[in-house]
């Protein structure tokens, strides 16, 4: 009854093409953003339940936001443009290490030319965004094979990117500023004089990034470029015949996707981890992101958030429930149980709803709009 469009007349195409054409959706989003931007920080600052300790903020909300951002990036490539990628982890790493190098100052000695390239340390915001751009550049490079190969073969090609960059960041000491342990520390998070330190500040920083990028990404996918990507995904031959250049469509998808993933990687390293090793961006991360978009919903920005939440929260729940029920399990049993339950849950979901949670939600919305008269 509440979710009804009755009486909401649109008199201009711009209204019909708005990001949320239904009023209830706009109100819902407003409330959600209000809670996220004002409610959560307030509760967390005064340590009111459920933010008694920083656990919820640190261990759940912060990684959720950053991984949701990375999932949006992955979704643009895999879900919207239909190019399967197993290299998301690598692009996160590129974003993180490029931002690190730019944030700590780049020095390239070109001894044989008799001079060196030196860039002084850049401000954090600039280095994060430039880290994203560096990832976009590498994304374009590794997207070139997509012009020739499709599907699983492309997945293998992007897997090559994953292993190549894993190797580069592990073996080339220049990227880690010659740190003997291979582990590096993020520079101070100084945004125009305001230093981000506490969990609440970190949370707000990530939230801002995620909100802005999610809105811009949504703009992109519902505009002409988004339609070009989806056309390439659904039927590349017909797409070419209406004048879409596969080269341009695919490479822009790689670039935009890698940029977002790169920014997410930089945030993951700088804001969440603080200090990290190449292991933080291994193939596991790529697979995790791929699962997020498949479960959340291919070709849906909102699905990226739902998928990220599902992948992050279910293991934690599986950990907490036995403890709450008073069934003491050994850590090993828990880990194994987690794998079993998690795996079967994913299989079940994909059989029941192959288009992910996003489709499930949109079906619910469609039904709600007609409820209680489903015709």
């Amino acid at each position: 009854m509440l979710y009804r469009e009755t009486g909401q007349f649109k008199t201009a195409y711009a209204q019909d093409m708005a990001i949320f054409p239904i009023r209830q959706d706009r109100i819902g989003l407003g409330i959600l953003l209000g809670i996220a931007f004002i409610g959560v920080p307030l509760l967390a600052t005064f340590h009111i339940w459920p933010f008694g300790r920083d656990y919820l903020l640190w261990a759940i909300l912060l990684p959720f936001l950053v991984l949701a951002l990375a999932a949006i990036g992955t979704n643009i490539l895999v879900g919207y443009c239909g190019q399967i990628s197993l290299g998301s982890g690598a692009f996160m790493a590129i974003g993180a290490y490029s931002a690190y190098k730019l944030g700590t100052g780049v020095h390239i000695p070109l001894a044989w030319l008799g001079f060196a390239i030196s860039i002084p340390p850049l401000p954090v915001l600039a280095s994060i965004l430039l880290g994203g751009l560096a990832a976009a550049g590498c994304g374009i490079l590794f997207g070139i094979p997509s012009l020739r190969i499709k599907g699983l073969y492309l997945a293998v090609a992007t897997l090559a990117a994953q292993f190549f960059f894993d190797w580069v960041f592990l073996r080339v000491p220049w990227f880690t500023n010659y740190a003997p342990s291979g582990s590096v520390n993020a520079p101070e998070l100084n945004f125009f004089g305001a230093v981000v330190q506490t969990p609440v500040e970190r949370y707000l920083l990530c939230l801002t990034f995620v909100t802005v990028i999610a809105f811009l990404a949504k703009n992109l996918v519902r505009g002409n470029l988004g339609r070009q990507w989806m056309a390439i995904r659904d039927m590349d031959i017909a797409a070419e015949l209406i004048g879409i250049r596969p080269l341009y469509a695919k490479l822009t998808a790689f670039a935009v996707s890698s940029f977002i993933i790169g920014v997410a990687g930089a945030l993951w390293a700088f804001v969440y981890l603080g200090s990290w090793e190449p292991l933080a961006f291994s193939i596991d991360r790529s697979l995790q992101l791929l699962f997020m978009v498949i479960i959340g919903g291919l070709g849906s920005i909102m699905g990226s958030f739902v998928g990220a939440a599902f992948i992050l929260i279910v293991p934690i729940m599986l950990n907490l429930i036995p403890t709450e029920l008073g069934v003491p399990l050994s850590t090993e049993t828990i880990t194994h149980l987690e794998f079993i339950i998690f795996g079967s849950l994913i299989c079940y979901l994909l059989i029941k709803e192959p288009h992910g949670f996003a489709r499930l939600i949109s079906i619910c919305k469609e039904k709600l709009r007609l409820w209680p008269f489903p015709y």
């Binding site: 201009a12 195409y13 711009a14 019909d16 093409m17 811009l216 703009n219 992109l220 505009g223 002409n224 470029l225 339609r227 070009q228 989806m230 056309a231 995904r233 659904d234 039927m235 031959i237 017909a238 797409a239 070419e240 015949l241 209406i242 004048g243 879409i244 250049r245 822009t252 935009v256 070709g299």
Partner: protein, 261 residues
Amino acid sequence: MRAPDTNEILLQIDGVALSFGGVRALRDVSFNIRKGEIRAIIGPNGAGKTSMLNVINGFYHPDHGAITFKGRTRTKMQPFEAARGGIARTFQNVALFKGMSALDNIMAGRTLKVRRGLLWQILRYGPALAEEVEHRHRVEEIIDFLEIEAIRKVPVARLPYGLQKRVELGRALAMEPDLLLLDEPMAGMNLEEKEDMSRFIIDVNNHYGTTIALIEHDMAVVMDLSHRVAVLDHGVKIADGTPDEVKKNQAVLDAYLGVAH
């Protein structure tokens, strides 16, 4: 039907030959399409009709021969270049973008007319939004014209076949083409749907002045709709002329009905 007054030639095919290994799909085919006419290409199965369309819009590159479109001769061309030149087409088996709504499918047809680039589209503000609305206006005109207002937000995969064909025609029209290639626009339709589609084809030709080349198996439709008919058989053009001429042609009768041995 009355042929258009102009004799200006839009597309000239000269001695086109195409083979796949040992199969000679087209052998030395020549014909032309005049501006503003409805030109039918007919022939028995495997005659090379679809191959001919594929050659025209750059899908296949002919082994020999030349194609002159709007006064420019070329042999090798990519499909998106043909699209840019003003050639649109629909497919024998519907080739819509299944995951998108009917509206988005037709909007995708406007791609070549979009002027604002990536950064503007990210912002979707001011001129970029105005442009998007402008395209929406044009697309809504086509939606009105094809009488598919009710299904504009429905994902095309959920639509019945007849409507899918209509959306596909809409997508081609959104390109505002000079030459529209229709590959069996009425395949698998019932009589009513065929009548609707025929009406749309005639209207497109009349209202927008679009030149149309169509492949069709329904002879009644072909003879009623087209101004001129070219007949292919085993990759060879065996007849060319007005529907009446073609109907009386002995070679055509032989190709369709067979020859007594």
